[in-house]
């Protein structure tokens, strides 16, 4: 089976679109939590082909976008310490913190390595025994297990110069916080696919049971999203709310137990700061006491200075789903992918970047 082209076939898409149009009678607002879904939705113009009854709003599921300025400032402060190499995924480089970005710090002489996996960061630590390598642990449940694995490996190899700045975030607690705040009313949630490959579908049950909101775990191809919307519409029309999986080729209800155990062994839940949402209890991960020697926060004195938010940037509101990129005065004017003001324009998974690059809604 071809796992990509098969999920982009236009004749199958036409069938799903017409089924959705036929069955959707009730007005419904669905949130796609995940930035990867947002990109697919914009890239294929999915909002244009859905009936008027359905409104799609983007959620806070872009790990880079939700990283608070205070935490970005810490990462930049780390990079400025002599003999510290900061290793990070490429998307982080351009994200502006309060006063600077990693890219700018790099241009000023800081050592910032772009890596594609935590194992590359580990290798950098081995190759540079006289320096300290700090990996920026940014991401959801999807990336945390690989970071945990890198810490365990560093321990096995006896590496004393490998550290992690753990800014990991957990998805279910922040969704609960959003729903509790009650700013955005939802009739359905497109649950993140990659996160669910790790945690399974059970952690979403509370959304269906406590808040009565239909949930469907989705893959990332256009047909995945259409199928997910179709399943959400069916629940809405039947007045049901349950958790279903449309992404069965990637997700089972129990998740990946091995990855979960790895994460559990190294990390423990902790409060985390989310851009636009604030501090949410138990929504982050910190290193357990046993692994404190790998914790960048515990081993370096960080003086990031006071936090400053970019004037006029509404990334926080966009991440909560209460405003859209087109509501922002900076969008496409002073804020573009080439010179981004807020993180939603920097990250390839950010709503502003997707909206800018794919020019939603252009008729023809």
């Amino acid at each position: 089976m071809k796992y990509i082209s098969e999920f982009r076939r236009s004749e199958l898409a036409e069938g799903l679109i017409s089924h959705i149009r036929h069955s959707s009678k009730t007005r419904a607002r669905f949130m796609e939590f995940c930035g990867g879904h947002t990109v697919t939705i914009f890239r294929y113009g999915i909002r244009q082909v859905l009936p008027e009854t359905i409104e799609m709003v983007s959620g806070p599921g872009c790990p880079i976008c939700v990283t608070a300025n205070a935490d970005l400032d810490k990462a930049i402060a780390l990079a400025k310490i002599p003999n510290v190499i900061v290793a990070t995924f490429g998307d982080m480089l351009k994200v502006p913190g309060s006063r600077s970005s990693l890219q700018q710090a790099k241009a000023e002489g800081a050592e910032v390595y772009t890596v594609y996996s935590t194992m590359d960061a580990l290798k950098a630590a081995q190759d540079n025994p006289d320096k300290s390598v700090v990996f920026l642990g940014i991401g959801f449940e999807t990336t945390a297990p690989t970071v945990a694995a890198s810490i365990l490996q560093a321990g096995e190899k006896g590496l004393k110069n490998y550290y992690v700045l753990s800014l990991h975030k957990l998805c279910p607690p922040v969704i609960r916080a959003l729903l509790e705040a009650g700013e955005v009313e939802l009739q359905g949630l497109v649950c993140p696919g990659h996160v669910s490959t790790i945690i399974g579908s059970h952690p979403w049950e509370f959304i269906a049971s406590d808040y009565g909101i239909p949930c469907v775990v989705s893959g990332f191809e256009p047909l995945d999203i259409l199928q997910t919307v179709d399943m959400l519409v069916e629940q809405v029309e039947k007045g049901e709310s349950k958790v279903e999986i449309a992404y069965k080729r990637g997700v089972n209800p129990e998740g990946n137990q091995q990855a979960l155990r790895l994460m559990e062994r190294v990390f423990e839940p902790a409060p985390a700061r989310w851009r636009g949402i604030g501090e949410v209890a138990e929504s982050g991960l910190r290193l357990r006491e046993k692994y404190k020697s790998f914790d960048a926060e515990a081993n370096f004195e960080l003086k990031p200075g006071p936090t400053v938010e970019a004037a006029g940037c509404i990334c926080g509101d966009i991440l909560r789903g209460v405003r859209t990129p087109s509501d922002c005065k900076l969008f496409g004017k002073t804020c573009t992918p080439e010179s981004p003001v807020g993180p939603c324009m920097v990250s390839t998974e950010g709503s502003c970047s997707a909206c800018y690059l794919y020019g939603e809604g252009l008729g023809g």
């Binding site: 082209s5 076939r9 236009s10 113009g45 890596v115 256009p222 573009t336 252009l362 008729g363």
Partner: protein
């Protein structure tokens, strides 16, 4: 003779002389080059095309090619995109001290093999050697001249509403083949770079119909960037259909993994042609007979508005803007 390139190989002395004689002239031999005068002297008449490009690809050997083949194809293709018949090339090396002589010779024979296929001669050249660390193995610059046949007028500003947009084959092979070899990122793929000289293809297209308005090879920045350049230069809109654009499954897979869009991934053996609708079929038919354009296909057409914009009908039937490449997708792929 030493088995590695030394600084002295670029000094102009005995070693340099030997290198030129044994490693370059012997392989690239032709009456213009063999004279070894300070400049090559030749006759040409008519409208000429002249271009230059530098090649810094890393790694220098990649699946489906190497920096030598690329340095010939790149310049030959730039000439061909003006409709010119490519004739003569210059070849200049900047070599990092310590490069294995065997590797250099392999690259020079690749230059010769590609030049032969493309029907061009290397008629002048230069070699510099820089200390270790001042370059990454070797860089190449080539410049080329060609002659444009009578009655051919090809330029990026000539696209007209109603014209058809033809793509010569699957996109993204080169960029993905090169990145698959990068340190820290190597993943296994059977994919090869599409690196190829397109002078022959262009000559066959012109023979089918000289009425070609625009030709361009979608190298850095990929198909999306090339189409945007043409739309802006011609002040027209280019409308393409996603489902018609050939992309290999391996390229799609790698793009998913790396977070790329194949529309922005580089090609080194593909071209985009914008032609009047009445000439499209015969040009397409001629293209399909050439081994480098068997998968040629019409991917869209030119409209008047929105001027300067590329709009794509997605596989779902929706429309979206296809913008220029923002930032750097992959450094040093050509």
């Amino acid at each position: 003779m030493a088995d590695k390139i030394l600084l002295a190989h670029g000094s102009g002395g005995k070693l340099a002389h030997d290198l030129v004689e044994k490693s370059f002239v012997k392989t690239l031999t032709n009456p213009f080059l063999d004279k070894l005068d300070d400049s090559a002297v030749f006759d040409l008449s008519g409208r000429l095309a002249f271009t230059t490009d530098s090649y810094v690809v890393s790694p220098v050997f990649f699946p489906g090619g190497d920096i030598g083949k690329l340095a010939v194809c790149g310049t030959v293709n730039d000439l061909a995109m003006s409709g010119a018949k490519p004739l003569y090339l210059s070849l200049a090396f900047i070599i990092e001290e310590g490069l294995a002589l065997a590797e250099l010779e392999k690259i020079v024979s690749s230059v010769q093999k590609t030049a032969n296929e493309a029907g061009v001669k290397i008629i002048t050249g230069d070699t510099k050697v820089v200390p270790r660390g001042s370059a990454d193995r070797l860089f190449i610059n080539t410049a080329g001249v060609g002659v444009i046949p009578e009655g051919v007028d090809i330029s990026g500003d000539r696209a007209q509403p109603g014209d058809k947009v033809i793509l010569s084959g699957a996109i993204g092979d080169h960029g993905i083949a090169v990145i698959s070899q990068r340190e820290g990122l190597s993943f296994s793929t059977k994919l090869k770079s599409d690196c190829a000289p397109l002078g022959g293809l262009v000559a066959e297209m012109i023979a089918a119909s000289p009425n070609i308005n625009c030709l361009r090879d979608p190298t850095r920045g990929g198909l999306a960037t090339t189409l945007n350049e043409l739309a802006k230069q011609s002040k027209v809109s280019i409308r393409i259909e996603e489902k018609t654009i050939p992309v290999r499954e391996e390229v799609m897979g790698a793009c998913e993994m790396l977070g790329f869009d194949p529309l922005y991934v580089a090609n080194e053996g593909k071209l985009v042609a914008i032609v009047p609708p009445q000439d499209a079929d015969k040009i397409l038919k001629a293209m399909k007979k050439n081994k480098y354009a068997k998968e040629a296909v019409i991917i869209g057409e030119v409209a008047a508005k929105p001027a300067g914009r590329v709009v794509m009908k997605t596989v779902l039937g929706a429309h979206r803007i296809v913008d220029m490449l923002v930032g750097d997708l992959l450094p040093r792929i050509c």
